[in-house]
């Protein structure tokens, strides 16, 4: 037997099996396709070295029977009792969560994990918002003179630590109440005329959800949904006034991200390696010409200076091709630091990232963008 042929037959089998895996339901595939492919590959390798092509043929017969039966079973599985897992909700474009809100939700899962709970409840979401720290939700609470650390303590006091075996479980479903809170948050955002769902809306949603632990604790601190909603307007107005003062070309981070759930997911995956993905998006007020998207990674080796040059070059090149509408462009910079990705250990310099963000802001303020 030629040495190369083993690899070839096994490789082809594996590729065909990978293709077959598409038949499984999406959620099953996302979670298990890699493991199944790996298993099949191992089997194929073993069978081939044991009994050659005949062994491989028998393996295929067995596998096809298994395949048909298990695809059928997966589709017949009873629907989940809980809301869809985090990823399915957070990347659903209908929800249009802001990156910060997604990070807060991811932190909510981490809080649940830390406490050994196997679900994400309203209390964890509130803890997540507090743990995230830098969001309008926290600013609202601060304006309502709520001390974040005291609020945290009050929540944790009411929780019993769960079993250790729940730690590190991948599947931590949202409870029905969280789902309800997020739905209410979405409604709040719509009512306020916002095209996105941020931490501030989640806070209102939590304060609206009956029987939720978050609501009980918030009430204890004298925080009601009505007060939160009123405060959101003030906080956003303050921020807008600040931004006006800083830069003539306004910073409008959110709308650029509509419908980009997929990209955000991919970012998370890449962030496992500790990279920071920064994305600069220039979006026109008009639909055409297409928006410019610059995406690149910052690692410890990649200092902001080089990155800045990359942005500059990309923008210049792009502008040379589309010179006419530049005056009406807005800059949007968003930083994904991977903190919401489970198991990620962001190995980057936060100060460097902040400096970069600052530099972009200053360039906009100095008229560098509109002056070209």
């Amino acid at each position: 037997m030629r040495p190369g042929s083993q690899n070839f037959a096994v490789r082809v089998s594996r590729r065909v099996y990978r293709w077959l895996l598409r038949a499984y339901p999406r959620d099953h595939r996302l979670e298990w396709a890699d493991a199944m492919e790996q298993l099949f590959r191992d089997c194929a390798r073993d069978e081939f070295s044991r009994a050659g092509y005949l062994g491989l043929a028998f393996l295929w017969l067995r596998t096809l029977r298994d395949f048909a039966a298990s695809v059928f079973r997966e589709y017949r599985r009873r629907p989940r009792r809980f809301a869809p897992p985090f990823a399915a909700v957070a990347t659903n474009p209908l929800y249009n969560f802001t990156p910060r809100a997604q990070q807060a939700l991811a932190l909510a899962r981490k809080e649940a994990d830390r406490l050994g709970h196997n679900f994400v409840g309203t209390e964890h979401v509130l803890l997540g918002i507090l743990a995230h720290g830098q969001n309008v939700g926290v600013a609202v609470l601060k304006n309502l003179s709520v001390d974040a650390s005291r609020l945290r303590a009050a929540i944790e006091q009411r929780l019993n630590p769960g079993a250790d075996e729940n730690k590190g479980r991948r599947h931590k479903p949202f409870t029905p109440r969280v789902k309800k809170a997020l739905t209410l948050a979405g409604k709040t955002a719509t009512a306020l005329g916002h095209g996105y769902l941020g931490c501030e809306h989640m806070l209102v949603g939590l304060a609206l959800t009956e029987d939720g632990l978050a609501k009980t604790v918030l009430e204890e601190f004298g925080v009601s949904a009505v007060r939160c909603r009123a405060e959101i307007g003030k906080v956003l107005a303050e921020k807008a006034a600040q931004a006006e003062g800083d830069s003539p070309a306004r910073f409008r981070p959110r709308h650029a991200f509509e419908g980009e759930g997929r990209c955000i997911r991919q970012n998370a995956r890449e962030n496992i390696h500790g990279h920071v993905r920064l994305r600069l998006i220039l979006v026109g007020r008009r639909e055409s010409p297409p928006a410019l998207r610059v995406t690149f990674d910052i690692t410890e080796k990649n200092l902001p200076d080089d990155q800045w040059a990359v942005i500059q070059r990309a923008i210049q090149e792009w502008w040379r091709e589309n010179p006419s509408t530049f005056g009406s462009w807005l800059a949007a910079v968003e930083i994904f630091d991977g903190s919401w990705c489970e198991g990620a250990t962001p190995a980057f310099d936060r100060a460097a990232v902040a400096a970069l963000k600052d530099a972009v802001g200053k360039a906009v303020a100095a008229g560098w963008l509109s002056g070209m």
Binding site: H28, Q38, L39, R62, D66, A69, R73, E165, G168, R169
Partner: protein, 117 residues
């Protein structure tokens, strides 16, 4: 005698064999498959779909837990997902085995099986 709470679904054969394989310690998917194959004398060959379908059900029922993915030094340098029996799973397995032992006893009494020595 310990009894199973109502809400637990009864185990399928594949699930039972997986639990038995995991009773010997942490395993990854391929190791489970090989062990089940060896223990049943090649009678029970779990395919990827059946194996991971059963693992998924067992994880959801919390009979097993997933541990840190890591490399199996005996195989290659790919990371594999490992599973181990939870306390609940061990209890369920015990109850299930007792039930089976009862059935075997019945079979012996009725002279369907050869009596034990």
């Amino acid at each position: 005698m310990e009894s199973l709470p109502e809400k637990f679904p009864s185990l399928t054969r594949a699930q039972l064999h997986i639990l038995l394989a995991l009773a010997g310690g942490e395993r990854h998917g391929y190791a489970i498959m090989r062990e089940v194959g060896a223990e049943t004398g090649g009678q029970m060959k779990l395919g990827p779909g059946t194996l991971y379908g059963a693992i998924k059900t067992l994880l959801e029922a919390r009979f097993i837990v997933e541990t840190e993915p890591r490399i199996d030094p005996e195989m290659d340098d790919e990371r594999r997902r490992y599973y181990k029996l939870s306390d609940l799973g061990r209890r369920v397995l015990k109850v299930e085995m007792r039930g089976l032992a009862e059935i075997v006893k019945l079979g012996r009494e009725r002279r369907i099986l050869a009596p034990a020595h």
